[in-house]
């Protein structure tokens, strides 16, 4: 995977756009299969996700967790690591936040809410540090370990939500968090909450961290060329562990936002693959914080519009999942899009 400097080049902006167009074209075939008009279906999809205040608010709300998981994956990528464990990290983060959210009563919001958020970040960071340590100290590839830790996280939270922290109702969920731990809603009736502000802050912080601090410099140096980084006195293992911890903390915020801002409680297996979608968001956003924002908004829009499309046409909403998978494939096949673009230019 080729990564560039702090600003994106025109080719880096063009490839994702071409990939999205290709994915929508292939998606159109699926729409034709079910006997609908692709143009009409896409019109319904995007007019219900990008036009009007309520639609935009819903889109941003769906984009919020994806910004966090996208940043998480992108951050690890910058250090040369592939974190496909964002899903597990966000579950343990959400669980930690919920435990703080239901346990500590009598605290003012200015203390309770940050406490819950930080608890979630700490849990996610610690969770991600395990594959980081195994990679740095024993050279075990992080991909398999992060996958394994996803499942361990599912079962751990399954246990907690049905056992010690079961909320008493018959469904597998915890009790409701105290109001002092809630992320406030911004634009009711949408579920958009102050999590979006944290997400935008995270984008800025990640950008500054990576390109304006010496720690970010070290992380990127290790990601690009570990042997040269070592020559420059930069510790490869320390930076790998640090990158995984930060990545895990970012991923956990996706779970924290869902719990403290949307559901108000931990619901067993609440995440619609937010962690895996983070990989798509990071790839589409070219591992750049600003790119991640736009990619997350696009995915948020697809998910928001899908519901309307499902209701108003015969196209099942799962079409957007197919489109998202295709986007990943096309973005990653840079070779393919580059050839297509060159042919276009020659023609």
């Amino acid at each position: 995977m080729k990564l560039e400097q702090s600003s994106l080049t025109s080719r880096e902006i063009l490839t994702p756009i071409v990939s999205v167009i290709l994915a929508l074209l292939v998606g159109a075939i699926f729409i034709l299969i079910v006997g609908e008009n692709p143009i009409e279906a896409y019109r319904v999809l995007f007019s219900n996700s990008l036009v009007g205040m309520d639609s935009i608010a819903a889109t941003l709300q769906r984009a919020t967790p994806l910004i966090f998981t996208g940043l998480a994956v992108a951050f690890a990528f910058r250090c040369g690591l592939f974190n496909i464990g964002a899903e597990g990290q966000l579950y343990v983060g959400a669980m930690a936040a919920v435990i703080v959210g239901i346990t500590f009563s009598g605290l003012p919001k200015v203390i309770h809410l940050p406490m819950a958020v930080l608890a979630g970040m700490a849990a996610g960071g610690i969770w991600a540090s395990v594959p980081g340590l195994l990679k740095a100290k024993l050279g075990v590839h992080e991909v398999i370990n992060t996958i394994m830790m996803n499942f361990i996280a599912y079962f751990l939270t399954d246990y907690l939500v049905t056992g010690p922290f079961h909320g008493g109702r018959w469904t597998p969920e915890t009790a409701r968090i105290l109001p002092t731990a809630e992320l406030s809603r911004l634009l009711p009736p949408s579920r958009l909450n102050t999590g979006i502000i944290i997400a935008i802050a995270a984008i800025i912080i990640v950008y500054i961290f990576l390109w304006r601090t010496r720690l970010g410099y070290e992380i990127r140096a290790v990601g690009f060329n570990p042997t040269a980084a070592e020559y420059g006195g930069i510790s490869i293992s320390r930076n790998m562990i640090m990158a995984m911890v930060f990545s895990g903390a970012l991923a956990s915020l996706a779970g924290v936002e869902q719990i403290l801002g949307v559901h108000g409680r931990f619901i067993q297996r609440f995440s619609p693959d937010l962690g895996f979608m983070g990989i798509a968001v990071a790839l589409l956003g070219k591992n750049h914080p600003v790119g991640v924002f736009f990619a997350a908004v696009l995915f948020g829009a697809l998910r928001t519009g899908a519901a309307a499309m499902d209701r108003l046409t015969d196209v099942p909403r799962e079409l957007v999942v197919i489109i998202q998978a295709l986007i990943i494939m096309f973005v990653a096949a840079e070779e393919l899009t580059r050839r297509l673009m060159q042919r276009r230019r020659r023609a």
């Binding site: 560039e4 304006r212 010496r214 410099y217 690009f224 040269a228 980084a229 020559y231 420059g232």
Partner: protein
Amino acid sequence: MQNILELKNITKRFPGVVANDKISLDIRAGEIHALVGENGSGKSTLMNILYGLYNADEGEIFLRGEKTKITEPRQAIDHGIGMVFQHFMLVEPLTVFENVILGSEPQKRGFIDFRGAEKEVARLSREYGLRVETGARVEDISVGQQQRLEILKALYRKADILILDEPTAVLTPQETEELFGVMRNLKEQGTTIIFITHKIREVLEISDRVSVLRRGKLVGTKNTSETDRPELAEMMVGREVLLRVEKEKAQPGEKVFSVSDLEVRDQRGTKRVKGVSLEIREGEILGIAGVEGNGQQEMVEAITGLLRADKGKITLEGKELQNLNAMQIKKKRIGYIPEDRHKRGLILDFNVADNMILGFHTEPPFVQRFFIRDERAIKENAGRLVEEYDVRPPNIQQQVSTFSGGNQQKIVAAREFSRKPKFLICSQPTRGLDIGAIEFIHKQVIDQRDKGAAILLVSAELDEILSLSDRIAVMYEGRIVGEMPVEEADEKKLGSLMLGGEARKDRGGDTVETGTE
């Protein structure tokens, strides 16, 4: 004897270099033909073309008188060409005989005929005196055995032209003798051998004819019986344009840097530096001559904190440095131009400005409070150095991967020289550069000397060693085998030390020629 193989005007270009420049070479049936030349002279490229791994840009190959196209290894194998690569092409977890038969397996309806294969391999092994344990896994057998296995592989495929790419580089002297025995045996049975090496002693011992390559060109072909060591050395190293560097005589001051009895192992655990001692004074350049791979790199990496020293002392101005980490070494004002600028010296995806602070990125003025970088200081630093070292284009925001080799090396030099180093290590500082860039770097090195730095220069280029150094030490097989002031050194003397000539005889008693000290 007739020619079994003729290469005509073979040319192969890689981005930025002509690796083979119109090379024409005749190989006679049944001879041992040595192909010699320094690193980067194009020997391996030529043989990879012959084996079908590279495709030549121009030129023709005639095999047994017929024009032949070889674009895939499969075709080379079918034409009876076998190659033993310098880095063995062996599948380590497989057994010896599985490796032998791979790709040409004896089979019965898809099933490997293990018994037949094992018998055939054992027969070949006996016939040619190639001792290998056929049942063992490759990862468990010695390097010598692995090499014999590679030869077996070629013979199993009925190769009658065998290419051996630097086969002795990985062998002990005893194993080398054994290999020569095998080669003679093969020759007697009619196999033609192309033997790549850079050790003149071996050429004289084993070959019938010898061809010399230099910088991608064929210098000439000689009958081995009609040539000698000095002539071959001259052909290899070349006496053409001796780069003259203008410099005053050194004014060495106090002893600044010393190494004593240093022992270092490489990452695989093989001992590569076997008790080296050195001293360098202020304002003096000590050149380390030697064929690459004789422990120079490991010595340098131990000094710079990239490898652990097993034993020995390293001191700068009396303070011990051994086994500090790379960052601590940097902070002692030790500059280091690494041997491989792409692997170690530069982060090619970073821009010039970010590369100019690598290693100093934790220090003021480049970072302020809270780890925040001072972009202005970083830009200022880069702008000043780019101008001072004439880096072109002078765009500090541009990615380093887009610069020419010479300008990339200027960036490394600019960074390493920028903090007034007390001690400076330059490892192969001009490798792969054009004449202009070489001159520029040389001038800068002399300049640092005149400013009082103690300099350790490691180079495989004798020209460079002779024109820059004030004193010269020769490294061979992890030891310093000779040391002399530059006035007493000449190519012949150094060349023979480098190629293991005299040193071989001295090795028993570990005596070391010492110059001034």
